[in-house]
């Protein structure tokens, strides 16, 4: 036991180093500016909740937050449903061109957004979608298709095929088999997929930075960037804004921890 003590200490240190920046940010968000310079770990005398009100109202975080939620829901739900269908096409059917089409749908795994954002901008301009939430939602659904199709196909293939065959023999159409049998049976992967799509969308920065200039359509990551530039030295308010961004992520993480850790490891194939 004594021999193991230093190893526990090492683990604890690693863990503390990872979370301390977030803890001191939360602390800072509740302090006055004078209290902040007195020491980063000191507790505030009175919790300064108005830092949050300032971020929320004057910093427009209310709008950024709503935009982030709308975009996340607008991307995650359709992405999961479309992947559920495209994955089904490749898992259940053998059809002319299926190999080629599968490879085609996976291109997105190896091409980063940075390599296609310039034409994407002009495409969205031609479609008159710049400065709108659609400019964030539609491309991100597209970008989710590669990983989604791959994951859902694998999910269906891991279901014993007798189950699907039984359903077909019962006279169910392929459509009913998908939504009544295959999709519900894939629930763990569907959940994981939704979670990953949520995190990727919530964190996306380059796309909103490039396509939406009007602050009305900013999401939280771009919002905090301009916010930080405007309130440069008002750290407590910046800290409050940061806390607003990472709290939903931490809550989700704590709820779905095991599943997420597994999923992100599987996310190795995502590009």
């Amino acid at each position: 036991m004594i021999k193991k003590l230093p190893i526990y200490a090492l683990l604890l240190l690693g863990c503390v180093v990872a979370i301390v920046p977030f803890l001191v940010t939360i602390l800072a968000s509740l302090k006055t500016r004078t209290e902040l310079v007195q020491g980063v770990l000191s507790l505030p005398e009175v919790a300064q909740w108005e830092n949050y009100t300032t971020a929320w109202t004057q910093g427009n975080f209310d709008r950024f937050f709503v935009n982030s939620i709308l975009v996340a829901v607008g991307v995650v739900v359709p992405s999961v449903l479309l992947s559920a269908m495209s994955g089904y096409a490749f898992a259940r059917f053998r059809f002319r061109g299926s190999k080629f089409l599968f490879g085609y749908m996976l291109i997105g795994l190896v091409i980063p957004l940075q390599a296609m954002v310039i034409p994407l901008f002009y495409l969205l301009r031609e479609l008159h979608l710049l400065d709108s939430l659609w400019a964030l939602i539609l491309p991100q659904i597209g970008m989710s298709m590669s990983f989604g199709t791959l994951m859902m196909r694998q999910a269906y293939l891991s279901i014993p095929r007798e189950i699907m065959e039984a359903s077909i023999c019962d006279g169910a159409s392929s459509w009913e088999t998908l939504w009544k049998i295959m999709f519900p049976l894939s629930r763990p992967i569907v959940g994981t997929l939704g979670l990953l799509f949520f995190i990727w969308t919530w964190n996306e920065f380059l796309l909103p930075l490039v396509v939406n200039i009007d602050p009305q359509y900013h999401t939280l990551p771009v919002g905090i960037l301009y916010f930080q530039q405007r309130w440069t030295s008002d750290i407590p308010v910046i800290a409050a804004g940061s806390t607003i961004i990472f709290t939903p992520l931490i809550v989700m993480f704590l709820i779905f921890q095991q599943q997420l850790v597994k999923a992100i490891t599987a996310g190795a194939v995502k590009g």
Binding site: G14, C15, M85, A89, A91, P112, Q114, S146, Q154, L206
Partner: protein, 316 residues
């Protein structure tokens, strides 16, 4: 992905069954259309918003275009690429990308691997409790990480310098320092990823058979030899996974840099993506920007290829 043979037998078995069902009920012609219909919605969004822009990048990279009106676009073949090869800013940005790689890719892998092996060999229980905290930075947006660290490292009122001062250690301007800015950005990247690497390695080590360790011990292996002979080969796949993910994660450097140094001081931390965005949208050179994008994609693919070649997961 790793079991193509298994999945294709499954495919053909299902297909055989389906074809027989279909022909029995005389629905064969309808069935022939079905897969395409299931694929169609995904195919359409993917084609419009991914495939077209990818092709567009390649096509635009062969033109000179101000990004304003289409009729000003001019086909100039590979001229943008020759321009890039003669452009010092391209080489210095690419150089910065490469200089950041050890910090974003290798350092966090090492920082995760060593403690993971120590914890595993000492048979420590309950490492899982630390998992949540260790993993946390990894799921955070790069911009947020940048914003938080920009404050922590602020030379005047930042807690890091404050702490160093109290310990009697020299302070720095960190992100504003010509020598230190790039390593600082790199260390932020390493900080964001080491916990993730640790968690992956711990999971991998737990899959290695304990008999292998016992055998090594019977042969009189010490800790280091055990590591070399058992742990390291057993982790080959995890190492490939971690390095590949970190490589993709290195693209996040853009987000961190945009929120901290914006490429400065001078151009010390300007990476390719930052230069590319600047060229395309601020200097209105959409064609040249696209050529830079193609080069960025090629570099990323080459590096991923190297990782797979070195640690290829095809032997499991």
């Amino acid at each position: 992905m790793h079991q193509p043979s298994l999945s294709s037998t499954l495919d053909s078995a299902v297909e055989a069954k389906l074809v027989s069902t279909a022909s029995r009920s005389g629905r064969r012609s309808r069935e022939a259309w079905e897969p395409y219909l299931y694929l169609l919605p995904a195919f359409i969004v993917f084609t419009i918003f991914v495939a077209v822009p990818v092709a567009g990048t390649v096509i635009l990279s062969l033109t000179a275009w101000n990004g304003i009106s289409w009729d000003t676009a001019e086909f100039i073949a590979l001229e943008n690429y020759t321009t890039a090869f003669r452009d010092d800013a391209f080489w210095s940005s690419l150089g910065n990308n490469l200089k950041l790689l050890p910090y974003f890719v290798i350092l966090p892998a090492v920082l995760g691997l060593i403690p993971a092996v120590i914890v595993h060999q000492a048979k420590i229980r309950g490492a899982k409790i630390f998992q949540a905290g260790l993993f946390l930075p990894y799921i955070m947006p790069g911009v947020l990480i940048g914003v938080v660290w920009k404050w922590l490292l602020n030379p005047v009122f930042g807690p890091v310098n404050d702490l160093l001062e109290r310990l009697g250690l020299p302070t720095r301007t960190w992100l504003g320092d010509f020598t230190w800015a790039l390593p600082t950005v790199g260390l932020i990247g390493a900080w964001a990823a080491y916990g993730f690497c640790f968690v992956v390695f711990i999971a991998g080590l737990q899959k290695i058979s304990t008999e292998l360790y016992e055998a090594a011990r019977l042969d009189g292996a010490n800790g280091w030899q055990e590591f070399r002979a058992v742990s390291l080969p057993g982790l080959k796949r995890e190492i490939a996974v971690v390095l590949s993910i970190n490589l993709i994660g290195a693209l996040r450097a853009f987000d961190v840099i945009r929120a901290t140094t914006e490429g400065g001081p001078g151009f010390e931390t300007r990476v390719l993506a930052l230069y590319m965005i600047d060229v395309a949208f601020n200097a209105n050179r959409a064609g040249y920007g696209s050529a830079l994008a193609v080069l960025l994609a090629i570099v990323t693919l080459i590096l991923s290829g190297i990782v797979l070649k070195l640690f290829g997961a095809n032997d499991d």
